[in-house]
Amino acid sequence: MNDQYILEVKNLTKDFPGVRALDDVNFSVRRGEIHCLCGENGAGKSTLMNVISGVHPYGSYEGQVFFHGKEAHYKSVKDSEKDNLAIIHQELALSPYLSIYENIFLGHIKPKFGVINWSELIVASKQYLDKVGLHEDPDTVVSKMGVGKQQLVEIARALSKKVELLILDEPTSSLNDAESEKLLQLILELKKEGITCIMISHKLNEVLEIADSITVLRDGKTIKSFDTNAAKVSEAELIQHMVGRDMTHRFPEKKHQISDEVILEVEDWTVFHPEYPDLAVVKGASFRLRKGEILAFCGPMGAGRTELMMSLFGRSYGSRCSGTVKIDGKEHIFHTPKNAISAGLGYVSEDRKGLGLILIQDVKTNISNSSLDKLSVYGVVNKHEEIMAAEKYRKSLGIKTPSIDQMVKNLSGGNQQKVVLSRCLLAGPSIFIVDEPTRGIDVGAKYEIYCILNDLVASGKSVIMISSEMPEAIGMADRIYVMNEGRIKGEISREEASQEKIMTMALQKTQEK
């Protein structure tokens, strides 16, 4: 084993039911460097980090992970922590109602005779807080602080465990510019103290700013590793490797005609957070959807896209909302999803397992659940028609399942998504809202989903697609709305759409109206 590497991953393959998340990945991290991991959503970055840190236990993957030249057999995160490896996930793992110092020492408190000396811990916590530059009373309850500060608590927590390898999964995704900059400086500080760091990031400028090495992952494979100290790397070069595929073949050809008829018109839509009724999550959004059009909503995480769509769909989100919704020029007020469905709206959630499907039910039942009124006479389900309907969509959408009696839990992500789409289609809406329709789905199935969406608009329906993958939005949409911080920042037509344009529009300062 080469001693200069703190971590080496060899021929790592990890399968999830129906999806190969990692495919023969090789990856090495030198001692004391900052190593950045880049790739599109679903490229396998987080999975790779989860394997390394023991979230996916030894035995659930093929291949080897070497830490300090020794093969690691982590059964849980606890084992990797013993080896001084720490991971900070995208979703912070702090206990919200405990104080800073309690969170810092949670899980590795060393009590004397079973008794915790809290005052000693408060004092001890101060040095870590100083190190990360968080000037807060250690007694503060973490849920009262912003995400940026919570992130610092996480790092302080990692430091208190004498960390040698720190893994950060998109640490700056929910931070503003100043907070991000501060965090990056901190990572550079830690490097000076000899802590090795792996950072996953979508923000290429940050990556280029601090990385010693960069590895690009795509579709579960390592594409290329760069040594930024040896040769200069450009953003364009990274993007090229991240995207890889020829853009023209990733999306099906479009042939449909868009009519000038506006089918959906939303004016000044404002939505408030379900738990903090004073916090506006969507602020005065207005947009229009034409018949036969695919509309994409782009923007970073937390831009308010899902919240906007779910609140439109029968107030499935939020405490209060205001504004007007017109379908075919007629104003509607939806109190429940049922109202929205009967007015011709359909919504396919981004959270397929949590909100979309009933995993313990079979394919047939999942498809028919929204349309039982249509499939029944006097409240008695016509099982014959139900089977016919389910079979129709199994064939037309190409759902790969042994039979429609198969539990959806056992289907792959792409096929599950087709089941949700079938349910939506069977209800017969004229406006489809699809939220991240291709998340966690392999490339082949993505293409099929795109074809389904194109067929829909070709048959005169309209589609609103929320997508975090900009190439997808550009490849599919006729028009793109860019959202950030709860506002619609602008509108881009298909002809002038580019990733740079979308990003710039999302990040520009809001103009005062």
Binding site: S316, I341, L355, I360, T365, N369, S376, M388, P402, Q406
Partner: protein
């Protein structure tokens, strides 16, 4: 390509086998337990008289289990059913004795009281969104208290035998007399009831006819059907059980009245859960409430009505139990909620909701009933009966979790 097709055909076959194993394993377990006790009691437990009494003694729990399984499928629990059975049972006696109402009016009014209680509990659970555990825990105390109040802590015996006959009597018509050995082996003249046999045979014929019609229809439309071997085995199995049961009833006093009441209840609610939109909604809400909501299902209303049904069935159970004891007792229904809940879980309902069947709950209830009965016949006291029932409950749920994990369903 052919390979993978064969593989998937094999997998389908195994899936079907597994799914059906799960459905019928309860029948098998029940049969094994009965055979076990038959050995231990020299066949006394299979005696027609005892057989009839197993149903009579467990009917009120089984009626409660019908409602409880719906509550559990929708993802809730109802702790109040024991107290509510006592309360409605007491109200029935009061309507009948103190108010002098006729039996039919008494039954109608008692069911209505149960329904009202269901409305009250369902409202707080479904619309105010107080956890069912809390609402029904409060109900458990409330209705016990109300029972004490309305009965003035004294048993009320119905003024005629009609309650008693409803709960413990049999449908004593259409029989022939013949000579047969009695308990002591002496030849005496005994009745042989034709009605149970005729009804049993009729149900079997209907089952086979409908089953075949459905199957033909599916084949005609090129739908997926079970292999013909499964189909025949299933029909033969069900027919055998039904005819065995009919035969046992025929040899004693004919169809027990409560068996008819229970049978109708089970048929109605099995139909509701399997064939109606409302039934489907119950499973959908229990399987994933948030997804159900986004599918356009009014989950609050579904939960509400499930609790209303539970309340009404408590009313029915109350009438039956008052009849069984021939008295409305202030302390009636103690632990009934736990027995009903245990019946559901032994019968394969899932603690997380979305899974369960009426038939399963009936089987679960009978498993416990048969164990109680068998141990009583062996003169083993209630103390050990509790111990054994506890083990059965734990084993049944453990087996359920184990098979679910193995078949990738859990």
């Amino acid at each position: 390509m052919i390979d993978s097709r064969e593989q998937s055909a094999l997998r389908t076959f195994l899936d079907v086998a597994k799914a059906n194993m799960r459905n019928y394993s309860m029948f098998l377990v029940l049969a094994l337990i009965m055979i076990g006790f038959a050995v231990l009691t020299n066949g006394v437990n299979l005696h027609p008289r005892n057989f009839t009494y197993i149903f009579i003694q467990n009917s009120y729990i089984l009626i409660l289990a019908v409602g409880m399984v719906l509550v559990i499928i929708v993802g809730n629990i109802d702790l109040s059913v024991g107290s509510l059975t006592a309360f409605t049972g007491a109200m029935a006696a009061i309507f009948f004795n103190r108010m002098g109402l006729g039996f039919a009016a008494t039954v109608a009014l008692t069911l209505f009281v149960g329904l009202l209680v269901g409305v009250y509990q369902g409202y707080f659970i479904a619309f105010v969104k107080i956890p069912a555990f809390i609402v029904t825990l409060a109900g458990m105390m409330l209705f016990r208290g109300l029972t004490y109040i309305v009965t003035r802590v004294t048993p009320i015996t119905p003024r005629t035998d009609i309650f008693k006959n409803t709960a413990s009597g049999t449908l004593d018509v259409l029989y022939i007399m013949r000579m047969a050995p009695n308990n002591r082996g002496v030849m005496v003249e005994q009745a042989f009831h034709l009605l149970p046999l005729i009804l049993g045979a009729l149900i079997v014929v209907l089952m086979v006819v409908f089953g075949m019609r459905d199957r033909r229809n599916k084949i005609k439309n090129d739908f997926h059907v079970l292999p013909v071997g499964y189909f025949i085995a299933k029909q033969v199995f069900m027919a055998a059980i039904l005819m065995y049961l009919s035969y046992k009833f025929a040899l004693y006093r004919g169809l027990p009245n409560v068996f008819i009441i229970l049978g109708i209840t089970v048929v109605i609610f099995t139909f509701i859960t399997n064939n109606t939109v409302f039934g489907r909604y119950i499973y959908a809400v229990g399987g994933n409430a948030r997804s159900a909501k986004l599918s356009g299902i009014n989950s609050e209303r579904v939960i509400f009505f499930v609790h209303v049904i539970m309340g009404m069935l408590c009313g029915l159970s109350g009438i039956v139990f008052t009849g069984y004891m021939n008295s409305a007792l202030p302390d009636a229904g103690k632990d009934f909620e736990l027995e009903a809940i245990a019946a559901c879980f032994i019968g394969g309902a899932s603690t997380t909701g979305g899974v369960g069947t009426i038939i399963g709950a009936m089987m679960g209830g009978l498993v416990m009933g048969v164990i109680n009965n068998g141990m009583s016949l062996m003169s083993i006291g209630a103390n050990w009966q509790y111990v054994v029932k506890a083990s059965v409950l734990l084993l049944a749920v453990w087996y359920d979790i184990y098979t679910r994990k193995k078949s990738g369903l859990g």
